[in-house]
């Protein structure tokens, strides 16, 4: 497996210098995508910059009312943070659908996002939750919404030398709840045919006052579907509202046919899955209010 150098910087600044100094240097988090791609020859970086020795990149921290998740934090560790799992169960569950225990002990949400697979499981959940990421690079730091990172299969909006330092989640509000579901032919170890993340807020009467709906594996990137959220807002998630949301997510799709599912199946299934996801989010929102 070719690679000319392995670096393990201890600070963000050193990592920026290494990543911008070599023509094709790549950040390494869990390696569960990158190492597979290096072996298959899809990716042949000149240098690997391992982010796991930078203290600021590991662990889950409180950030005001919300959370800052270091980009090198493995998915398993998210489950072990009780406050995070209570506030954002959809995000934590989505990250813990990835692969096997062995894979989740290494894989990170930052890698899931920056690998830019349309079927990345953590991404729709993060988008629905309104997550942002803090990016470091040669021009300094910037914070952008998660949905702006992937721009196509395998491609991100990160500039050369930039990398994700942390993923930020707001605090979950009273009456809020999130969920993520994916459809796969097996129970474990498979790639989403369709995925849906929903985050919503209910008032005391059960009326939806805010919502975000995101879908995965049905377009070149994970999508935030504003029309689907609009269909829920102001409703009590009755059948008419859920049907309208389903129509909106189906209309937003631009899927491919592949061995996992046909275009037609994905477009129909995304409505079903978004509906199921919204009902779980509602139950959680109800429990939180």
């Amino acid at each position: 497996m070719p690679s000319q150098a392995y670096h393990a910087p201890a600070t963000v600044d050193e990592a920026v210098a290494l990543l911008s100094g070599e023509p094709d240097a790549r950040p390494l988090a869990g390696g569960t995508d990158l190492i597979v791609q290096m072996k298959s020859g899809r990716n042949a970086p000149d240098a690997i910059v391992d982010l796991k020795h930078i203290a600021a990149l590991s662990g889950v921290h409180r950030n005001g009312d919300g959370f800052a998740i270091g980009a090198a934090t493995a998915c398993t560790a998210l489950k072990n943070d009780a406050a995070l799992a209570a506030a954002w169960p959809g995000v934590v569950e989505a990250a813990n659908l990835i692969g096997s225990v062995q894979v989740r002990n290494r894989a990170t949400m930052g890698g899931n996002l920056c690998n830019a697979s349309p079927a990345a499981d953590a991404v729709p959940a993060l988008v629905a939750a309104g997550a942002t990421c803090l990016i470091a690079g040669p021009a300094g730091e910037r914070e952008v919404p998660v949905e702006q990172i992937p721009i196509g299969p395998g491609h991100t909006s990160l500039a050369p030398g930039e990398f994700v330092v942390e993923i930020r989640l707001p605090g979950q509000v009273a009456g809020g709840g999130d969920a993520y579901l994916r459809s796969i032919p097996r129970t474990e170890m498979d790639i989403a045919v369709v995925g849906a993340g929903v985050n919503l807020v209910l008032d005391g009467s059960g009326t939806c006052t805010a919502a975000r709906v995101s879908i995965g594996a049905v377009a070149p990137t994970v999508l935030l579907v504003e029309d689907a959220a609009a269909a829920l807002i102001g409703s009590k998630l009755d059948d008419a509202a859920l049907d309208a949301m389903g129509k909106a997510v189906s209309a937003a799709c631009n899927p491919i046919d592949d061995k996992r599912g046909t275009k037609k199946y994905r477009i129909a299934m995304v409505a079903v899955l978004a509906r199921r996801t919204a009902l779980i989010a509602r139950e959680r929102a109800g429990a939180a209010s």
């Binding site: 393990a8 390696g31 690997i48 391992d50 796991k52 096997s100 170890m189």
Partner: protein
């Protein structure tokens, strides 16, 4: 290409080796350290035959760079038995006939022991999900699950003071 010098603790013993930047931990274990118990079934994280425990967490050694092992503690299948005395997980795999060709077995042994180290009384469902990253093409899994249940029961008895 310069070689990287790595120092780690493997099965309780301090070890050192030289590796290339793109080399996997699995290749270093097998080819540089002669620890050929860990197997390469797929090389892509799918089969679990290469499972080792790194700093207390089980991982696919085919998806870890050898250079990443610097300063870590690694436990491989070679460290599971105490001398010639088999660990209960190994003993129960034998008794239950939980192996045929044996290619997957080192990974199953390491993963099953890792499960019982942190959950002494797993349900059948927990066992099956925990082992979802280990593929076996021979046994049909049922005998493996029974062996893990038997080993769990034996370990719980050993732990209970008489």
């Amino acid at each position: 290409m310069s070689k990287i010098h790595v120092t780690t603790t493997i099965n309780g013993d301090e070890s050192e080796f030289l590796c290339t930047p793109g080399e996997t931990l699995l290749d270093a274990l097998r080819n540089r350290l002669g620890l050929t118990g860990s197997k390469e079934g797929c090389g892509s994280g799918d089969c679990g035959a290469c499972t080792v425990v790194m700093d207390g967490q089980m991982v696919c050694s085919c998806l870890v760079l050898a250079a990443e092992a610097q300063g870590t503690t690694i436990d491989t299948v070679e460290g599971v038995a105490e001398g010639s005395e088999l660990h209960p997980v190994q003993q129960k795999f034998l008794e239950r006939g939980a192996l045929q060709c044996g290619f997957c077995t080192p990974g199953f042994i390491v993963a099953s022991k890792a499960l019982l180290d942190h959950n002494p009384d797993p349900s059948e469902t927990e066992i099956r999900y925990w082992l979802a990253g280990n593929l076996c093409r021979c046994t049909g899994y049922d005998k493996i699950v029974r062996a893990v249940q038997d080993a769990a029961a034996e370990l719980r008895q050993e732990r209970t003071p008489a």
